[in-house]
Amino acid sequence: MSLATLEKIAGGLSLLVIGSAIWFYSVQILDVLELLELAYG
């Protein structure tokens, strides 16, 4: 595989990883905020 192709795949997958991780943890954080609201809100 040429460097240019590899760079494109690596960059794309990396963005995908970072994006999914942000989504994954933001769901958890929202969950906690909701719990806090239930408890103290």
């Binding site: 595989m1 460097l3 590899l6 760079e7 795949i9 690596a10 960059g11 997958l13 990396s14 963005l15 990883v17 970072i18 991780a21 994954f24």
Partner: protein, 158 residues
């Protein structure tokens, strides 16, 4: 493919009989699993922070990646071997644990990312690679291993 059958088989295997007969073995293997995870983490952090230009700036990043990659290989072998042993002790429970599946998914992806993307890319002269690609790969690599380790810890909580 019947996935549950595999877990039933693992649950009844000789490996499981060792870990179930002696509670202490499970704990000891768990300690080694943890130590291997920390070695992997240290090497990933060192390599990726070098790619981001945070650490060891006066050492060529090719040298840093070369040295850390060797220990990443060693740590992964130790992690997988100890992990299979641990899984055999609680196979049926794991099958129903969603964090176990989150961890396996991210682990498989992590291994793919290291050996199919990160390592082949970093074989090129780092100066010839687009600096933004390097940075993205470094952040993604740390993110994946963080998710793998965090989901692994969370198996015990859920």
């Amino acid at each position: 493919m019947d996935v549950f059958a595999f877990f039933e088989w693992l649950d009844a295997s000789w490996l499981a009989s060792i870990s179930k007969a002696y509670g202490g073995t499970f704990a000891v293997v768990q300690v080694f699993h943890l130590l291997a995870m920390l070695t992997l983490g240290g090497m990933v952090i060192t390599g990726d922070l070098r790619l981001l230009g945070v650490l060891l700036k006066d050492v060529p990043s090719e040298v840093v990646i070369d040295n850390t990659q060797k220990w990443i290989n060693v740590a992964l072998v130790a992690l997988i071997a100890s992990g299979i042993f641990m899984a055999s002790a609680v196979a049926i429970k794991l099958y129903y644990n969603s964090f176990f599946w989150a961890k396996m998914t991210s682990l498989v992806f992590g291994i793919f990312f290291v050996y199919a993307i990160r390592r082949p890319l970093l074989r090129y002269d780092h100066g010839s690679i687009n600096p933004w690609t390097l940075r993205l790969v470094a952040v993604a690599s740390m993110t994946i291993w963080f998710v793998v380790a965090a989901s692994g810890r969370w198996i015990g909580f859920s």
